[in-house]
């Protein structure tokens, strides 16, 4: 079977690393990654704990298909209680780290307690050791990852670590792996920092077994045969996610200047086309190629090279920025660009590199900066607060200065590190915070995309574009009709995919019937489309119960007043608000929840959650 059947439990307070058997009953009900990691967190902690206290867990979880031959089988997750939202956090990443951990023989690593001084964890197959990390503390991801590999004499080892943002407990800090991949959302990097855990280096040589190898490869081949010739795969490989910017801008759902506007006049300077245009300085475009995660046959990742004459990267001490780097992807381009009113491509590239280097979530950083810009514009904060930095919308120099300060946890960067909700509350304007459950908006405006309005409002980790996938119905017609059903189905499907080890990007090309044969050939027992979808629904409902107990239940199923009360000024939804109230009752009913938004007893019994 493709579960390894083993968990590594690391007690940082005691300095112990202990192997324990995976709870197979839970694995069969919650699969792995997001579902299984959350189940362990929920069973081991109270929902009301302080997320930055030693009581919180930091769970690094793979899925049953992570590290197998399944296409896109490189996904892994970080699970904890979020210091940004106080809700359940599950941040998903790709790259090669997850597959390496699985190959080392572990389904999950659970960190508990807090180390007395900075440490890092070394895993080499079944050996796990904690080491002193004082030589690495205070330094960036980009510095320490190669040094750790060199120290352990293994260039094939994989590293996940935090930068200075996580160390300084920025509530928007990420865990970065393979230099350019991020478990970005919900502040999971701050939880790692709160435990004095700097990094995990892992090398695995054991492989991953499946129940029926021949049938598994047949299922993998069938799924690839469907994915490979699809235009969806071709487009993601050719344009990356960055292609979304022209779609949202044309449609009028591109959040601009802290969501006050829905279209950005500077989009042609920073879109997917702009990164392919040769620049004046050296005749080369920013985009240099595509990059795939472990086992992926899509390769949506972008690799780029910033203009070497760009001033912030000039000088010998900045040589690291003049190398190929990950990005731009749509979400970071949106957050640094339109959301902050900035159309300087190199500034966006630079900000993205610093976020990776210092371990910041690009969406939350950009969206929090845009809230700060609105606070600045209205005079709620001044240059006295910002240390002299002019935070006007459109100021690329402000983006550069603030990403550096936030990455290091210095100056006004400490306030940006609070995230948009706490920042806006601190300066007396909570209405400027474009958040749900305290998490910043990704690049889709809910007034124009009604399904996304419902998806944001009901997302268990706060505003998120990956917890549901109503994109195509939203772009096809501006209406609330039918959106509750799409959101419910894709929430359950993405919950199962996020718990499997696979990526959500094959999207509708792989329906549950395409996914089930891989589970069936890899795991003990019989796995059907219905069974895996029920796992997804169970995971979603379990997350809901946790959040309700944490004080973030139905009352948090809402959007900022800007989306609920201020009509869109342009685009396909001109004159409209998000109309959330039209969709929520149907959504609750479809879920088998009460009209008040609580899972009904019969629903809990059906899912084995009563």
């Amino acid at each position: 079977m493709s579960w390894q059947g083993k968990i590594l439990r690391v007690n940082l307070s005691k300095g112990s690393c202990v192997s324990e058997p995976l709870n197979m009953g839970w694995a069969e009900a919650y699969l792995g990654q997001r579902g299984l990691g959350s189940k362990y967190l929920i069973e081991e902690t109270e929902p009301t704990i302080d997320p930055l206290s030693p009581e919180n867990r930091l769970i690094i979880a793979t899925g049953p298909l992570t590290g197998t031959m399944a296409s896109t089988g490189g996904r892994w997750s970080v699970i904890c209680k979020s210091p940004l939202t106080n809700a359940l956090a599950c941040s998903n990443s790709g790259g090669y780290f997850g597959a390496e951990l699985k190959n080392a023989g572990w389904d999950m690593v659970i960190f508990e307690g807090k180390a007395e001084k900075p440490v890092y964890l070394e895993i080499k197959d079944n050996i796990a050791l904690l080491h002193d990390a004082s030589a690495y503390w205070g330094r960036s991801v980009w510095e320490i990852e190669p040094e750790l590999k060199q120290k352990h004499g293994d260039p094939q080892a994989r590293v996940a670590s935090i930068g200075r943002a996580g160390e300084s407990l920025a509530r928007i800090a990420a865990v970065i792996n393979d230099l350019h991949r991020a478990a970005g959302r919900s502040g999971v990097g701050a939880v790692m920092g709160s435990k004095n855990l700097k990094a995990i280096i892992v090398r695995g040589t054991g492989g991953v077994s499946v129940k029926d190898p021949a049938r598994f490869m047949e299922a993998v081949r069938a799924a690839k045969d469907k994915l490979d010739p699809s235009e969806r795969r071709f487009r993601l490989g050719k344009f990356g996610t960055h292609a979304m910017m022209d779609a949202t801008n044309s449609f009028g759902s591109l959040p601009t200047r802290n969501s006050r506007e829905l279209q950005f006049e500077g989009v042609n300077k920073i879109n997917a086309k702009a990164v392919t245009v040769p620049r004046l300085s050296d005749g080369k475009p920013n985009l240099i190629g595509a990059k795939a995660c472990f086992g992926c046959t899509i390769a949506c990742g972008r690799m780029s090279l910033i203009d070497p004459t760009y001033k912030p990267v000039a000088g010998e001490d900045k040589a690291r920025y003049r190398k190929g780097t990950g990005g731009l992807e749509y979400e970071n381009a949106y957050a640094f660009g339109p959301m902050c009113g900035i159309d300087d491509l190199d500034a966006l590239m630079y900000a993205n590199m610093v976020c990776n280097e210092d371990g910041l979530d690009t969406i939350s950083f950009g969206a929090t900066l845009s809230a700060a810009m609105e606070l600045f514009e209205t005079g709620a904060i001044t240059t006295e607060d910002t240390g002299g930095i002019d935070l006007s919308f459109g100021n690329a120099d402000a983006l550069i200065a603030m990403v550096e300060l936030t990455g290091k946890g210095e100056g006004f960067g400490k306030d940006i590190g609070l995230g948009s909700k706490r920042l806006c509350e601190k300066y007396g304007h909570p209405e400027f915070s474009m958040t749900v459950r305290g998490q910043e908006f990704p690049g889709y405006e809910p007034r124009a995309m009604k399904g996304m309005a419902l998806a944001y409002a009901t997302s268990n980790r706060g505003a998120c574009h990956l917890r549901a996938a109503p994109f195509v119905p939203d772009f096809t017609k501006v209406t609330t009709e039918g959106k509750a059903e799409v959101v419910k189905f894709t929430q359950d499907k993405n919950a199962l995919v996020d718990s499997s080890g696979l990526c959500t990007f094959p999207g509708p090309v792989w329906d549950p019937e395409d996914l089930a044969p891989k589970f069936d050939a890899a795991l003990p027992g019989k796995w059907t489309a219905e069974r895996i979808m029920e796992c997804g629904e169970r995971i979603w409902t379990m997350e809901r119960l946790y959040n309700t107990a944490a004080g973030l239940g139905p009352e948090a199923d809402t959007l900022p007043d800007r989306q609920l009360k201020e009509p869109a000024g342009s685009g396909a939804a001109k004159g409209q608000t998000a109309e959330l109230e039209k969709m929520l009752p149907e959504y609750y009913e479809l879920r088998g929840w009460t009209p008040q938004g609580h899972p009904a007893k019969q629903t809990l019994q059906r899912l084995g959650l009563a």
Binding site: R232, A243, S250, L466, V472, A572
Partner: protein, 81 residues
């Protein structure tokens, strides 16, 4: 009549650059125009089409007639990332 066309992130046989002007007979409907663009899409894909910024769902495309000066935008059934 003439209309302007923008095609984003889909290979377009008629306008390889993704942009251009079409000269159409009067009373040409949207379905006909979309076929004329020779878009490279999967057979079952529903790709969004906006006329003057308004999305026209597939079931309304036969009955949507273009007029002089209209602006058509087409992009793929793209999902987030």
């Amino acid at each position: 009549m003439k209309i302007t066309v923008e095609v984003h992130s889909i290979a377009c046989g008629t306008f390889p650059s993704g942009e251009g002007t079409l000269d159409l007979p009067d009373k040409t409907n949207l379905s006909t125009v979309l076929k004329q663009l020779a878009l490279k899409t999967d057979p079952d894909e529903i790709y969004p089409a906006l006329v003057n910024g308004t999305p026209i769902p597939p079931e309304e495309r036969d009955q949507t007639f273009l007029k002089e000066g209209d602006h058509l935008v087409v992009f793929p059934p793209i999902e987030g990332g």
